[in-house]
Symmetry: C2
Subunit: 146 residues, 2 copies
DNA sequence: CCTTGTAGTCAGGTCACCTTACCAAAGATA
DNA sequence: TATCTTTGGTAAGGTGACCTGACTACAAGG
């Protein structure tokens, strides 16, 4: 019989695991010599092109307002990971461009993600991780539809 | 080859599904005639005893500070779902006690959770939902340990 | 009693968003 | 070409969900 606790546990569990992963990720990023970055800064690196991307593009891809995204960019710029340069093809626009350190973070991020995937596959089983992803996608689709 | 997007997708997916579920839950609670309640108010109903519980107990179980929890209680009290009464056994303490409407919410919550479980089991398969939970628990344990 | 610990509140701060209002440049239209 | 609308970005201010630090009222032990 499903109880309040049972199902709430699933919701809480989803939150915990997400936080666990984000935390672990940024712990490693930090340990690898890129301090100051917070989990929320991931929204920048996630879709950032190595040659620079327009703020509004990034904001839209992240599902955030331009203002909210711009704030994160300002933070990450202050930390020295990106710069804002005027877009040569659009006088209104500015390109968010990774600095040398920023490009390191981009690569580092990929490495750390690969590392985590490998560790989960080892500890839990690659096919179970795949199944997890599939089930989550189905639930998401179900909720989006219903 | 695991990419940045692949693994980030899993983190994002966890977040999306969690939000989906919380949203759906509160949509139904609202539809069932209990307006004003927000997802974050779940922290109160989650551990609230039908006869009342002490604020600090609830705060501790939710992993929140007393102050933060107290704010939620104030909100939910203003909505008329709980009251704060002095604890007859401890002059310092106050009991958070559900009102009649609050007790309805408690029951309603259980019903909605049961409903959701049933729907997922139907659409996705009970054993896959169980597997999801198990895998999440293992990852959580893994991260807590490592 | 008096000290120390605990329950709860108050004040104020932070973080990650949001809305409203605006400017400046681009593109469409007349 | 002058204007009108759309789009890229910023500024200012607000909100929700937390936090820390400082405080009061009561409890419990020596």
């Amino acid at each position: 019989m499903p109880t309040l606790a049972t199902t709430q546990h699933l919701v809480a569990l989803l939150g915990s695991v997400k936080e666990d992963l984000l935390e672990e990720m940024y712990r490693r990023v930090s340990a690898a010599g890129c301090p100051g970055l917070r989990p929320s800064h991931g929204c920048i690196f996630r879709f950032l092109d190595i040659d620079g991307s327009k703020l509004s593009e990034l904001a839209e891809k992240s599902g955030m307002t331009k203002q909210a995204f711009g704030e994160h960019v300002a933070n990450v710029e202050a930390l020295g990971y990106v710069t804002r340069v005027p877009d040569p093809e659009d006088g209104r626009a500015k390109l968010v461009v990774p600095t040398a350190r920023g490009r390191e973070v981009l690569i580092l991020g990929r490495q750390i993600f690969a590392e985590l995937e490998r560790e989960w596959a080892e500890a839990i089983g690659a096919e179970r991780i795949a199944a997890l992803r599939e089930t989550l996608e189905e639930i998401h689709a179900l909720q989006a539809a219903g």
